[in-house]
């Protein structure tokens, strides 16, 4: 579905608000929207909300062969999916330019900054390594998907636990989750992307642009940074011209923002850890705030099964009568070795005659409702013109009558006698 474009007056309004050093949602220039991190029941699953923008990340792992160029390194694979759930103009399955940009930025931020120790993912050098896969699903697009996705990806990566393995000689044992506690991945640092939107040829700058602001901005600068103040990725997109000072100013702001977000992620991870160890409830079901009119909750519902068992017996009695009604019709006719036929209902243009005459098929079973069969024009049919085993199925009229007759005739049909003799060109396979 197409997205509704921004109207000119909306555009002008947003720009005029920004020129007044305000933002349409009431935030200050350098403010982030509220960040909410929720973990699922599974390890390595988290959903991050940045204002109304929402992203789901899930980390999974499997044992694969390593790449030939790096036999001792595990593999990290990332995929960002712009699901149509997030925005009507996204199409599932097809990677748009926007999708490629997002994928590459995250790949550069997380994969190419080497925050995950891939060497620790090696099981048997050159043969077996862990492949870690991060799937990121965008659920709601209200601007700044990138920052939200980068928080989700790195949090999920830290939250994830892979099954323990032991190697003895050539045998590799992957321990079940119940068998041994799964182990966390070794994550060196946590890079987080911070996006800056520029307006009016770089005159105004905003942190964390929301959807409307993204639509009217000139361009965007993305800084991926960890809390040690190391820049992991940096990129300017959009057509605008910046000066060096502006870049440095952004990187200074990013330092502060990354510190804040890192702490938030740490707290969220700690909370989840204590909830799990204390046996409190956790997961998505718990994260839904119940004190709203849009949410509703019921506790365990008991289903009364008393009268069900009663009625059940009744229906079973009825069944008895229906069985054993018509078993006579199920006669199998063997036309030839390996070819059998049963039933004779319906029209069939595969059974054909050599002459152009219409064949009238008489209803052979004295059955109640079979009033008449329609005249049919039979067409010749052959298949497999060029394959090695060319087969032609040709049935002539005499066969047709034979086939039609059989089911109707008495119960004791000798199958042997029905097999077509050599002289009748019954159902034949010709090898050419």
């Amino acid at each position: 579905m197409r997205e509704t474009p921004l109207s000119t007056c909306e555009r002008d309004f947003i720009l005029s608000v920004i020129a007044d050093r305000k933002r349409i949602d009431g935030r200050q220039t350098y403010d982030y929207r509220k960040i909410k991190i929720v973990f699922g029941i599974d390890r390595g699953c988290c959903s991050v909300e940045l204002g109304k923008t929402r992203v789901l990340a899930q980390v999974s792992c499997e044992v694969t062969e390593p790449k030939q160029t790096r036999p001792t390194d595990g593999i990290l694979f990332m995929n960002v999916e712009l699901s149509p759930m997030a925005c009507p103009s996204f199409e599932s399955g097809r990677l748009s330019d926007e999708g490629v940009e997002l994928n590459r930025l995250l790949e550069r931020c997380i994969k190419e900054s080497r925050c995950l120790d891939t060497e620790s993912l090696c099981i048997v050098a050159g043969q077996k390594v862990w492949t870690i896969r991060i799937d990121i699903h965008v659920l709601n697009q209200e601007g700044n998907i990138l920052d939200c996705a980068s928080i989700a990806a790195i949090t999920a990566l830290v939250h994830f636990r892979r099954p323990d393995v032991t190697v003895s000689g050539e045998d590799v044992t992957i321990h079940e989750l119940d068998d041994r506690d799964p182990v966390p991945l070794s994550v060196h640092h946590m890079p987080i992307c911070v996006s800056f939107a520029f307006f009016d040829q770089g005159k105004f700058l905003l942190v964390d642009p929301e959807n409307g602001e993204e639509k009217v901005m000139d361009g965007k600068m993305v800084i991926g940074m960890n809390k040690h103040r190391e820049i992991c990725t940096l990129q300017i997109t959009g057509d605008m011209l910046l000066l060096k000072e502006q870049v440095l100013r952004c990187s200074n702001i990013a330092v502060v923002k990354v510190q804040e977000i890192s702490e938030l992620i740490q707290t969220a991870l700690e909370n989840d850890k204590t909830a799990r160890s204390e046996g409190r409830k956790y997961g998505f079901a718990e994260s839904i705030e119940r004190e709203q009119i849009t949410t509703h909750h019921t506790d365990i519902t008991n289903v009364d099964m008393e009268d069900i068992t009663k009625t059940n017996h009744e229906t079973m009695d009825e069944e008895e009568n229906q069985e054993q009604e018509n078993s006579e019709e199920n006669k199998v006719t063997i036309l030839e070795k390996g070819t059998g036929i049963v039933g004779e209902g319906g029209r069939n243009s595969w059974l054909m005659s050599d002459d152009d005459e219409d064949v009238k098929i008489e209803p052979s079973i004295p059955n109640k409702s079979k009033k008449h069969k329609q005249k049919e024009k039979k067409e010749a049919y052959s298949f497999g013109d060029d394959s090695e085993e060319e087969e032609t199925v040709v049935l002539d009229e005499s066969d047709l009558h034979m086939i039609k007759k059989v089911p109707g005739s008495s119960d004791s049909v000798d199958l042997q006698s029905l097999k077509p003799s050599k002289s009748t060109p019954g159902k034949k396979k010709k090898k050419r």
């Binding site: 069939n348 409702s369 069969k373």
Partner: protein
């Protein structure tokens, strides 16, 4: 006149027939089309069967390949069913990658195999953890005239019962794989799943083994797969809600049909062995 009605008011045309308990092709509501099974006609395949339900035609060929088992299931072989709906069988299909219908049908057949436990995957093991059989079951629809699901299941089961695998041994010393074509073993098929599809017309007529016209006009489809007297799949993807009695009727019919089809496969197979 009848043809005009059929063209302009296909539903009305069908309704006129169904009210009199008969279908335009002369069948009763509960009557299947004539079913032809031809087993073992493809000699290059390890097992094969051609099935015709009226005009609907599906040919299934099974090719066996040697493969490595998965690490977590070292004793299990593979059965990989694949349904192909080429543009040859109906104008509604496009050439190229399998469309949605083909994918859905393939998955349906996979589910039937799994639920019916028709072949024990451990029977396909040659050397645990090292070598197993992989049966590539390709079902090609040659003529798409409705109820292809039933034809696919029937052709697959017939072909599986016809499948002969050569004896394969692994030489302990050289680790070489040795195939002995002279000694062949029939694949053990434990159960005979039979699928029966019903179409619901105008919310209350239930007709068995629908043709393509009936399928397109139907307000719902229900497929029941039975093995012997047990059910192994009831699949009704939406459509008109059915009363319990109607479902029960379908199940009874399906069991009945199951006996008929099982007999057909077995006797045809028997005729081949003689």
């Amino acid at each position: 006149m009848a043809n005009d009605l059929k063209t302009f008011q296909p539903k009305e045309y069908y309704r006129k027939f169904l009210e009199k308990d008969v279908r335009p092709d002369g069948r009763e509501l509960g009557e299947c089309r004539s079913t032809v099974v031809n087993i073992g006609s493809i000699t290059t395949a390890e097992g094969s069967a051609l099935v015709k339900l009226g005009n609907t035609t599906v040919i299934c060929g099974i090719k066996a390949e040697l493969a490595n088992p998965k690490a977590d299931e070292p004793k299990n072989g593979y059965i990989v069913p694949n349904v192909e709906l080429s543009p040859m069988c109906s104008a509604q299909f496009r050439p190229g990658a399998p469309g949605e219908q083909a994918q859905v049908l393939s998955q349906f057949v996979v589910d039937v195999l799994q639920n019916s436990e028709c072949v024990n995957l451990q029977d396909l093991c040659i050397v645990s953890g090292k070598l197993v059989w992989m049966l590539q079951c390709d079902m090609i629809c040659l003529d798409y005239d409705g109820n292809v699901a039933d034809a696919c299941v029937l052709s697959l089961v017939s072909a599986l019962k016809n499948t002969c695998l050569p004896k394969v041994t692994v030489n302990e010393e050289t680790q070489a794989i040795e195939t002995d074509d002279k000694i062949t073993n029939n694949l053990k098929v434990q159960t005979t799943p039979v699928s029966t599809t019903f179409a619901i017309f105008d919310d209350h007529f239930v007709i068995v083994d629908p043709t393509i016209e009936e399928e397109t006009l139907a307000t719902g489809i229900i497929t029941i797969v039975t093995k012997e007297k047990k059910l192994c799949m009831v699949h009704k993807p939406g459509g008109t809600p059915l009363k319990d009695s109607q479902i029960q009727l379908c199940i009874d019919r399906a069991i009945e049909r199951s006996g008929q089809a099982t007999k057909l496969i077995d006797e045809t197979q028997c005729s081949l062995d003689r």
